[in-house]
Amino acid sequence: MAHLPILPVLLPLLAAVLLLIGTSADVGVKRAISGSGIVLLVLAAAAQVAAAGDGTISVYKLGDWPAPYGIVLVLDRLSAIMVALTSLLSVPVFIAATAGTDTRGPHFHAFLQFQLMGLNGAFLTGDLFNLFVFFEILLLASYGLLVHGGGLVRARAGIAYVVLNLSGSALFLIALGLLYGFLGTLNMADFGTQLQLVAPEDQGVVAVTCALLVTVFLLKAAVLPIGFWLPHVYTAATLPVAALFVIMTKVGIYALLRVVTIGLLATPWSAGLLQPWLTWLALGTIAIGAAGMLAARSFAGIAANLVLVSGGTLLLAVAEPTAVSIGAALYYLVQSTLVTGALFLLADAIGRQRGASEDDLGPGPRLHSYTVLGLIFLVLGVAACGAPPLAGFIGKIMMMQAMEASAYPALVWVALILSGFVAALVLARAASVFFWEPGAPGIEDKPDVPYLPAPGLTAALVLMTMAIITVSVVPAPVASYARAAAEQVLAREAYVTSVTGDPAAVERERRP
């Protein structure tokens, strides 16, 4: 399949175009189109995982222009993991959205498909400017998804989010303009090659430019000084949308990892550029996320702050990129994305059964299906706080082992263990509020609210829980694939040779 690398971009685009043509169609028709798009996307992602599994780096030249002149899509193990995770996450999000969220506006499914297109494109592209374009596609779709459902809170959160990301895009473009001015290339593989040729007197300016680029990715990944938007935005969105947004912060981490491994590690002067900063920013993000969890007033707020903690943990590995640390981080990324996504869906399921109390951590009526939700809560809670035997524990242990060789192993371990402890505390408190307090002696019993069963939402939650149990019981396939992906990402030369051929043989223009 020569066209396999572009399928995860084309399939959602096709579905989105069909959905836009059929704007006035019945919601059942839209669900059929969107659902078939997602099924095909999952199949394409599975084919990509298989194709990249043997270490092949597939390069797809758009318009058949050779790199570094034209735009290429590059499929390697890391891209395959990220695309597969996005597609897998989209299945429960789609199923959960059919429980009523998608009828609150005409364009939900079109936005969902455009978001998937942008995400997959960002994970597959091998060109920095094309990365910017796919970022904008996924952001524009996310703007639409965020305000989906209406209301003042969403409109206000939407304005803040859009302004922040437009400023981020401006920074991104400044970085790209300067990079192109200095290096004469925006191809990711060629980026490292050209960094090696920068004259010593230009290295300072190029370092600042790279720092600008990294700042943009840190903004997307919601890292400490520029990450406070995340809990505000994620709790304002409808909850199935928030579950999908979990993967958006991972785009920032992914782009950062790519730029570091393919570019900054290529030369001695740029290799140590980020290391002194990233570890502290990561630790700070974990601390802020833990404090935010303690202060959260709703269950979705806890989940949003868990996204911060998970982003900070992943950043620790990017700060000290070795095959062990990146391999561990990729396994951690897969399980934490599934867990935090599932927590948002659980918040939706709990909120629907509590009437006006929604998912607030305060007194409310008794839940209707507390056995099912309680069991799901137990599994997700154990996985989220990193307690044995589930995937969260395996991920944390792998991260802690990988960080043994880092600059501050003791600090990192304390951060990882304490954040897990705080998560356990907060989730236990939430569980007692939701499941034990209603009807207990001495607690005011609020009347039950009329409740419409949402089988789609429960099905989505069961699906997510099964996925989490699967990566916990058989972690080896995911972990070994992640480790192989990490080794491949760090083998810069092989990547460059597959994309541009022998870099010395590339014909260059003469620049003044």
């Binding site: 302004v163 192109y180 003044p512």
Partner: protein
């Protein structure tokens, strides 16, 4: 010429940043517009400042313009334009629902 362009870019960026930090949504939109002008001009000039140089290779030609930044800036303009239009629509929606243009309208104080 280089000095003129740099000063113009600096003034545009500084005004844009100042306006983005104002408390009303309308000034923020104006600020983002100014900032995106500055960014677009910067990308355009990342191919170097040259007058009357053709963008294609011609036999025996020593000076030529870089055509790629023009393609990049066109993409950036289109995207920036679309985003600003969306932001304006969102700001109008926010104003209609809260009755004020203040960025913190509806927030608990």
């Amino acid at each position: 010429m280089e000095l003129l362009v740099s000063v113009a870019l600096g003034v545009l960026t500084a005004s844009g940043v100042y306006l983005i930090l104002r408390p009303t949504t309308f000034s923020v939109v104006l600020g983002l517009t100014l900032l995106s002008y500055a960014v677009n001009v910067l990308i355009f000039f990342s191919g170097r400042l040259k007058a009357t140089a053709p963008p294609l290779t011609v036999e025996g030609l020593s000076r030529q313009a870089d055509p790629l930044p023009q393609a990049l800036v066109l993409t950036a303009i289109v995207i920036g334009f679309g985003m600003t239009a969306y932001l304006l629509a969102l700001a109008l929606k926010g104003k209609a629902e809260s009755g004020t243009d203040h960025v913190d309208a509806g927030e608990p104080r």
